[in-house]
Symmetry: C2
Subunit: 309 residues, 2 copies
């Protein structure tokens, strides 16, 4: 068994804290202390990224691995309409990847900085596989749930979909992905400002797209007890993507939101620099997702299956 006792663990922590600079705050006690602003509720989630499950080392730099894991975790706060208060970072890595630590830390720190928050604590340990578990802490006056979708609501999605799916497909076929597709996989951005705006302006339910639009919308349909109808032709797609592939492209970290049709699109556009597209509507009925293309119902099976392909 290799050795990585407290000495090396403290070296690891020092390497990370150096990489984080002012993005690290108050690290050094057994636990971090934070204040949730008065009138706000604590919103928290944890998310693990594992080498060869969520990414391959051949695809991403250590910096990108750190960024992506952190943004994927922060995306859960975005889906709840919450503002981040802080992030806890647990890093497990094999001794032969030890030298990746500064770059990994840099990517984590850059994502945390981009999201306007700080790293408040963490843990480092050795392991057979590189793994990051990022825990996010946020606050929201009225957190958005998956369960509030109402018949009559429209269904909206942020951004443009399909890039991560196309990048994965290219890698799995031994091709180099188009750089725009690769960037959507390697450098996702948690839609925090969009989530907060939507929560404050009438959204009834939200989820972030991690398993694929249809799979994630099914969670909303079941949690809300409603039927969700998606118009395939209305999906905002990256150049070159087939709409059926876009409908199941995972790890997009865009927001899927239900809201009354009266949602003020102009106000959204003036506040948030991100496309917001109506892709369907909510009906009373058995909880399910139904899809049509040019008015004809279609069946789309399969969903995002991490790297099982």
């Amino acid at each position: 068994m290799s050795t990585l006792g407290p000495g090396r663990e403290f070296d690891a922590i020092r390497a990370l804290v150096r990489a984080w600079g002012r993005s690290a705050s108050g690290i050094g006690d057994d636990a971090a202390v934070l204040d949730v602003p008065r009138g706000m509720r604590l919103v928290t989630s944890t998310d693990t990224s594992v080498a060869d499950v969520h990414f391959r080392h051949a695809w991403l730099s250590a910096d990108e691995i750190g960024w992506r894991a952190t943004m994927a975790a922060l995306s859960d706060l975005a889906a709840m309409g919450a503002s981040p208060l802080g992030v806890l970072v647990a890093v497990s890595l094999p001794p032969e990847r030890w030298s990746d630590l500064p770059a990994l830390g840099h990517g984590i720190g850059a994502a945390v900085h981009e999201a306007g928050t700080v790293i408040v604590g963490g843990d480092t340990t050795r392991s057979a596989t590189l793994s990051l578990t990022i825990t996010v802490l946020g606050a929201a006056a009225r957190p958005l749930a998956r369960s509030g979708a109402q018949p009559g609501d429209a269904i909206w999605v942020t951004g443009v979909l399909g890039g991560p799916g196309r990048a994965l497909e290219a890698w799995q076929q031994g091709r180099v992905p188009a750089s725009a597709d690769r960037a959507r996989f390697a450098r996702p951005v948690a839609r925090l400002a969009a989530g907060r705006w939507l929560a404050a302006n009438g959204a009834t339910a939200a989820i972030d797209i991690s398993d694929g639009l249809l799979a994630d919308l099914a969670h909303v349909a079941h949690a809300s007890g409603v039927r969700c109808c998606v118009h395939l032709d209305d999906l905002p797609c990256v150049a070159g993507a087939a709409t059926r592939a876009v409908a199941v492209s995972g790890e997009e970290y865009e927001l899927l939101v239900t809201a009354p049709r009266t949602l003020d699109l102009r106000a959204f556009a003036s506040a948030i620099d991100l496309p917001l597209t109506c892709i369907g509507h909510v009906e009373a009925g058995a909880p399910e997702v139904v899809v049509d293309a040019a008015g004809v119902r279609v069946e789309i099976t399969g969903g995002y299956d991490h790297l099982s392909g």
Copy 2:
């Protein structure tokens, strides 16, 4: 690559939620929502336990692995004098250990129940190695830090030390540990009530013993800028343990606390069913830990090094 797509991930979550019963609360949204009681601060920490680093499968049952990882994380709240509000559980496991999930979940749930809290969320993924990252959320009106030790304080420790070190030593020598020693390693108990009592009754600094008494006391000495003097003969030791080994026995999850000598031991004894032993005192001076035995200064090198031995 083996397959563990969303289907199996949801099966895993269902298996865990079944094992947790009423110890799971509000799981199902992108993030959990909690309230920090008014006037209290949020206290949070994350802790990873990895197979073949923190334990070996040959030593512990899956139930014990779950319990131990959870109590180790909760111990950080105890050291801060905080009350737990909830726990997030990230489980990574290899497909061949899939069948361990209910027992692992049972151990986690039992520890959470013992600590009087609930599981509010988590993540499951496959990995080459079993790994648990437990994030604890707690609240305290006045969290205890490592940095408050004052010259003139006494140094106290809860419980009786040395069991985990003796268990590890036996396993590493191919022997079966004594059952009391094994239980101290396999079934630690976070000293939450003791931590709260001490925080409310004059403790100036605290840390939990994870790396060994001397190594953890050194953190207090450095954070507080004081010299900590330990009387080796005063350490509370399990039967059969050498005091020098006890001084470096790790993963004890007992509390090491500084407090004025006027600490009300009778009140502690009537409130908390746990030994509390004075093992030394705090002096002004360069930050260090000095140790004496029968009044003669001794040097003790080495500390807890996980499974590197």
